[in-house]
Symmetry: C2
Subunit: 209 residues, 2 copies
DNA sequence: CTTTTTTTGTATCATTCATTACAAAAACCT
DNA sequence: AGGTTTTTGTAATGAATGATACAAAAAAAG
């Protein structure tokens, strides 16, 4: 991208990598638990560099949230969009959520947004807004998959895709909450079938209403 | 209970009230964000009294979790058990969750367990275990209501009450997550009907499987 | 009334916190 | 090479943190 040679001593760190390292610390320790020492150690930079790059701790945090929320490569969502069959898609989505929240490479459990940012939402200015945007963005991305399926005729035309999208995402919060508490992926997986049925059930019960 | 006169200067605080005041601080600020100053101010005691009573900050925290998790009077659960009709019960349960997580008297948003304890689960020794117990206890309490309904014949005998209980509780985490992010109770309420249908749908779709 | 016991209140402790001053280092520019 | 610019690394800042020491206070016991 912007690898154009600039005057002055070159930076020793990659901005994206630094933010992702910071996410790992925030995610495991929470905003207040993530001390500058933990952050700089994990990011491999020293505090003056951090301050020059991100302003302050809160600035880094907001950028971490933004980076995390706008990561189009989020595995569960990609899986939801990848699988051809809608039932498979929802199933694989939930499986990916469980993988993600129980065995993330960073070692963190749960979800950065649900298990860290939510706690800090009222305490770090700007965090709540970013969190709301992330939630609504994910709702919309899930709904888009359902809408696609309606266009294909695989889901009935009156399938309430917005409602069911929120429902699926809400269910996900329950899974990552359990994962954060230390419940095993094996135990979590037992609920997948039920959840898939609940999310897609309105396709079958619609006629009954 | 133990109001038996004891020798020595009497305590100036009520233990239960102090713990509940502490919960309010932890809930809004998180474990690390809840400083001793904030805690002692809210509890109306000074730090030596706090340390004498609870050992240290972590001790107070664990007691707060225990107190919160074993509160049988939890409004949403009481409502779930109170309503005669099962559909009404689930509807009122979710409504109570929304009230609770958007307008709690303490001013805190979300849920103490989902929006505070979950973040600290890996960082405060003992918290994760208490959290798991709280989750499984709530699962069981919800399931009991479904089982009661099966015994009454209102729900079919093959209604998967354990699975649907976990589903309902997971859905709840999604609601309190949204509440913590600042989404209004009005907006949250729009999803209730869909959620109720999803939780009880297997009663109607069972025949189709 | 004195002693004993327990809690309170104040004042303080060493640590850790987020943040910054400043000089050496490493690049490009002329 | 000499000058300019930007980042690094070290070291230090004041403020806030969790936790205590200790004396005064308030009750029952003797």
């Amino acid at each position: 991208m912007n690898d154009t040679k600039k005057v002055g001593r070159p930076k020793k760190f990659d901005r994206h990598q630094a933010v992702e390292d910071a996410i790992g610390v925030f995610w495991t320790k929470g905003y207040d638990g993530a001390s500058m020492k933990l952050l700089t150690d994990a990011m491999g930079i020293n505090s003056p560099s951090l301050y020059a790059e991100f302003g302050d701790k809160a600035g880094l945090y907001l950028e971490a949230i933004d980076h995390y929320a706008n990561d189009d490569a989020c595995e569960p969502l990609v899986a939801l969009e990848r699988e051809a069959d809608i039932k498979d898609a929802v199933t694989v989505f939930l499986g990916a959520v469980i993988n993600y929240s129980t065995s993330h490479p960073s070692g963190a459990k749960g979800c950065f947004l649900a298990s860290c940012v939510s706690t800090s939402a009222g305490n770090v200015k700007g965090a709540a807004n970013l969190l709301q945007d992330a939630i609504k963005g994910t709702d919309a991305r899930i709904q888009a998959r359902f809408d696609l399926e309606k266009a294909r005729g695989t889901l009935p035309a009156d399938f309430p895709s917005a409602d069911q999208a929120r429902l699926l995402f809400d269910l996900r919060q329950g899974l990552v909450f359990r994962a954060r508490a230390g419940i095993s992926d094996q135990e979590l997986r037992q609920g997948i079938t039920t959840a898939v049925a609940a999310v897609l059930a309105s396709a079958y019960t619609a006629a009954l209403r």
